[in-house]
């Protein structure tokens, strides 16, 4: 539906939001550290990171609730320095929703429009439109205390969208919803964003949420951006060990570079007898350099029979734990050096004749291009 959307890859595209060398300090601690970032019009952009990484501060600076200690933020052609929150063409959906408890649903949604001095009949039209968008027409006269968590979330969304902001900021938009509702709402948010052609900036600590919704994800840690890329790139080509471990599950095998053969890296580890062969041509490494090999659990193959002679990347161990998840089975395999690998297997058929059992001797293999080398 939006396969060709990639303005960040176009060097001529002008970003809508630009953070240039932005730093924010609170007393002694630095929340955001010399950060530069471009966000393009129409993007669904996720700021992802553990709590305290500075993602919320970054969003609050965009909304105008915090002032950068250094650096500039521009929106379109406007430098946002000194522009108070009530004059920014940006609206925010708060984590707590922040619905006005003394106003009905429709009054809440109309609040922003009233501030702009919009004529009454136009306000009514727009409120009606917003209520239809979030499917809350029947609850227009209710008060926030009479709504469920999911309904409140929708009112908050409608209120933030009512003014048609250039950018919608969403602070942990699905954090307070239960799992099932969260999943539904993720897709709904994507549809709404797509239909309205609006730029969404979402703050979240939930990597699944970010992966599902975002066009691009910026992974943050300690006030800095570690990687900005599409969900696929973040998952398949994580730049650092932090990202590999933060986004999804991963097996990390530590070792030393032995050399390069036919464009493939040979890495000596304590986990396997033979050196491991990794196909990661972009890395520039030298012999003896300590590295970490990252392999996603679903890219490893677990088998009972020894692989044939000449097989590469063979790790032997015994089954330590088995977790049956229905769609997947998770095996935890303990290697001879004590390390534990996590290997998943899709349960493609309903019955398996003699499934791999606890304490069984198994062989785990992976293809050279299934792994990524992360320089330490």
């Amino acid at each position: 539906m939006r396969r060709s959307f990639a303005p960040w890859a176009n060097p001529d595209a002008k970003p809508l939001i630009r953070f240039e060398n932005v730093t924010k300090r609170f007393g002694e601690s630095t929340a955001v550290d010399h950060l530069s970032l471009n966000i393009f019009e129409g993007e669904f952009f996720c700021l992802l990171g553990p709590s305290g990484c500075g993602k919320t501060t970054l969003m609050r600076m965009l909304a105008g609730f915090e002032t950068p200690t250094e650096g500039t933020i521009t929106l379109g052609d406007q430098n946002l320095a000194g522009v108070p929150p009530y004059r920014r063409p940006v609206n925010m959906m708060f984590q707590s929703y922040a619905l006005f408890p003394h106003m009905s649903v429709e009054k809440n949604i109309a609040f922003g429009l009233k501030q702009d001095g919009m004529p009454k009949d136009q306000i009514a039209d727009r409120v009606g439109e917003m209520l239809r968008l979030v499917q809350l027409e029947k609850l227009a006269r209710r008060y926030p205390s009479q709504l469920s968590g999911g309904q409140r979330q929708r009112v908050a969304l409608a209120r933030a969208l009512a003014k048609k902001p250039k950018v919608l900021l969403l602070d942990e938009p699905l954090g307070a919803l239960d799992k099932k509702l969260r999943e539904e709402t993720q897709f709904e948010l994507m549809d709404i964003q797509h239909d309205l052609h609006m730029t969404f900036v979402v703050v979240t600590h939930d990597q699944e949420e970010a992966m599902t919704m975002a066009d691009r994800i910026a992974v943050m840690d300690h006030g800095r951006i570690v990687q900005v890329a599409t969900p696929g790139e973040i998952y398949e080509q994580p730049k650092t060990r932090f990202i590999a471990e933060f986004v999804g599950d991963v097996n990390i095998i530590e070792g030393h570079v032995q050399g390069q053969e036919n464009g493939l890296w040979r890495v000596k580890t304590s986990s396997a007898e033979a050196p491991l062969t990794i196909d990661d041509p972009d890395e520039v490494l030298h012999s003896g350099q300590p590295v970490a090999i990252a392999v996603r659990p679903e890219k490893m193959v677990i088998q009972r029979d020894p692989p044939g002679p000449g097989a590469i990347n063979v790790l032997t161990g015994e089954v330590w734990d088995i977790g049956y998840l229905g769609d997947w089975t998770v095996y935890r395999v303990k290697l001879a050096n004590g390390e534990i690998l996590r290997v998943t297997r899709a349960n493609a058929s309903r019955f398996v004749e003699s499934p791999i059992d606890w304490d069984e001797q198994v062989y785990v293999t992976f293809a050279p291009d299934a792994a990524v080398i992360l320089a330490e």
Partner: protein, 267 residues
């Protein structure tokens, strides 16, 4: 825990409440006494209430009291609310702790001292004692109670509500009047009622700062009793008790409701 009331619990409850309320109850009962003698029951009658309403001096005093209470409570509510906002909102300005302590001082200060110091002040600045001096003195006394009530509400106030209003385009002042004020209004009203009742029943500070032109009801009652007990005074006291009770009960209900509301919206 044993949730049922044991004999011991009931007894202590009865004794405690009797200790607190028996004298007041007695006063109210004797205000309906037909006999002229305050301590001898002579049958039921409402004649003293009638006499009370024909006693112009007492009625005058009641009016003065009511006007002072309304005016001083209004002033105290405005000042007390502003103080509460400053104390909860403007972070850690230098001397904040000292300022907080100073706002609460009149609460624990002996009334005689507050009254005396105010008297000395009014004499020093050559301010004629009367209606206005009592009003100002009561404002000083009751302001801190308003601050306490409003401050406790502001502590639980979700700041993101104000941020949301600003985010949606409301400048700070409009944010205050359209979001903050309506939400803390119950606690402001509770503070007002508290200030009102405190002013109504104050004797000590009022008598220090009263002048020839203005006598409040508590002062009048006190001096009347010194000349000899009269059932009229019982009637006046009973009415006063009624008003004060009403004020305190509504203040409690209001602040309870506002706390409940903020809690309901918190989840």
């Amino acid at each position: 825990m044993n949730r049922r009331l044991s004999v011991f619990n009931v007894t202590s409850l009865v004794i405690g409440f009797a200790f607190l309320y028996l004298p007041i109850l007695l006063l109210v009962i004797y205000s309906f006494n037909a006999s002229r003698l305050v301590t001898v029951w002579g049958g039921f009658s409402t004649q003293w209430y009638g006499a009370l309403f024909r006693n112009e001096a007492l009625i005058d005093a009641a009016w003065v009291t009511l006007r002072i209470a309304l005016l001083s409570a209004t002033l105290a509510t405005i000042l007390g609310t502003l103080a509460a906002l400053a104390l909860t909102r403007y972070g850690r300005f230098p001397g904040r702790t000292l300022f907080t302590g100073m706002v609460y001082a009149p609460m624990v200060m002996p009334e005689v001292i507050t009254g005396l110091s105010l008297l000395l002040f009014f004499v020093a600045v050559d301010f004629d004692r009367g209606f206005w001096t009592i009003t100002l003195a009561h404002t000083t006394l009751t302001m801190c109670f308003v601050t306490v009530v409003v401050q406790s509400r502001l502590m639980t106030f979700d700041r993101s509500l104000e941020e949301a209003a600003m985010d949606l385009g409301a400048p700070p002042l409009r944010t205050f009047f359209s979001v903050t004020l309506p939400l803390i209004a119950p606690s402001i009203v509770a503070g007002f009622l508290l200030a009102f009742t405190l002013s109504m029943d104050d004797l000590v500070i009022a008598s220090f700062n009263a002048g020839p032109g203005a006598t409040t009801l508590p002062i009048k009652i006190y001096s009347a009793v010194r000349l000899g007990l009269s059932p009229e005074v019982n009637a006046a006291s009973a009415i006063l008790i009624g008003i004060v009770t009403l004020g305190v009960i509504s203040a409690t209900l209001l602040s309870k409701r506002s706390v409940l509301r903020s809690r309901r919206n918190a989840h």
